[in-house]
């Protein structure tokens, strides 16, 4: 019997002591702590978008912003991608 057998069996054995204290099923806990549901993506399906429908409908593509201008400007350091691991 290799040492690997023994290490793995011992590692699994250590789970024994955790016993039933930890449950993989997340439903058990939601009784006390309701999960935060993601916003319902389909809610915008029923409603029309007045402003989007009219003002910004057919903006000239020439006016489009061509580069990201959000919080990416706070992502600094080396611009070149690091080598793959």
């Amino acid at each position: 019997m290799s040492s690997k057998h023994i290490i793995l069996a011992a590692a699994l054995g250590s789970l024994f002591s955790l016993g039933t204290a930890v449950a993989g099923d997340d439903k058990a806990e939601t009784e006390k702590c309701h999960g935060v549901a993601e916003a319902g993506k389909n809610d915008c399906h029923t409603a029309s978008h007045a402003c989007a429908g009219l003002a910004t409908t057919d903006k000239d593509p020439a006016e489009w912003v061509r580069v990201p201008k959000g919080s990416c400007e706070k992502m600094g350091g080396k611009l070149e991608a690091p080598k793959p691991i």
Binding site: H45, T46, S48, H49
Partner: protein
């Protein structure tokens, strides 16, 4: 009232005094997770209606079998008091618009839609409610009025109606008909649920047009039309739809209680 994710936690914690909840079916198509879990818990305390927004029954393209399978699974799990969809189409050539597009009101489209409603009712093993939608255009060659088309759909498919009073008002203004005439044409006993919502009035090329935005309180004109609908169709369960610019739960509850007090 409508069940929206932003209020999930508060609804369960405070158990507001409302008669029932309505959920957008597609938001609960998941295999598991917090949203589905919340809906299941809401169902333990209140009746729930499932309101589908994505099937696009009037589309000529084949019915999405996976969509139907997930809906049937959800209906079996939640056991809602009502299952509804829209009198609309939504996709063609494999591209979905994720919008509720108006039907061309022809005999051909009616046959098609009625057959699809029949397919849906067979798949779910129950009657479904079909809702009238707001529209900003009409197709040429209409062979029915909008209300006449709904009445024919009820007769041909055996479905019931979800009457959106705001949508009737919006379309009456946008397309120039009398909302009371519209009510006259509907089969009295087919209306099983009513929707109300807020809409926006805007102008295109100097002409007024009403856009169904679901982002504000119900306007007084629509409340008045609702009172008329209640006199005709009786005390059917009524829901206020509010999907964008969502207010605090208490305001939604107050609007829902106002609707219950009318009639």
């Amino acid at each position: 009232m409508g069940l929206r994710a932003a209020h999930h936690r508060e609804v369960l914690a405070t158990a507001p005094d409302v008669g029932w909840f309505e959920a957008h079916s597609e938001n609960y198509f998941a295999d598991g997770g917090a949203a589905l879990d919340t809906l299941s818990r809401v169902r333990e305390r209140w009746p729930v209606a499932l309101h589908g927004v994505g099937l696009g029954l009037g589309s000529a393209a084949p019915l999405d079998r996976e969509h139907l399978r997930r809906l049937a699974r959800l209906v079996a799990h939640i056991e809602p008091w009502a299952v509804s969809e829209h009198v609309c189409w939504g996709h063609a050539g494999g591209r979905h618009t994720n919008d509720l597009l108006p039907m061309p009101r022809t005999a051909e489209s009616l046959r098609h839609l009625a057959a699809r409603v029949g397919e849906l009712q067979d798949a779910l093993g129950r009657q479904v409610l079909l809702e009238n939608v707001s529209s900003y255009l009409e197709f040429t060659g209409a062979q029915f009025t909008e209300a006449g088309y709904l009445a024919a759909l009820v007769a041909e498919s055996g479905c019931a109606l979800l009457l959106d009073v705001n949508n009737v008002f919006v379309n009456a203004r946008n397309h120039g008909f009398d909302a009371e005439d519209y009510f006259d044409e509907l089969p009295l006993d087919a209306v099983r649920e009513i929707h109300l919502a807020g809409h926006e009035t805007t102008r295109i090329a100097g002409r007024e047009i009403r856009i169904d935005t679901h982002d504000r309180p119900v306007c007084e004109d629509v409340w008045a039309l609702y009172a008329s609908a209640r006199r005709r169709f009786g005390p059917v369960p009524t829901l206020i739809e509010w999907d964008a610019a969502l207010p605090p739960l208490a305001i939604l509850v107050a609007e829902a209680q106002r609707a219950d007090a009318i009639g």
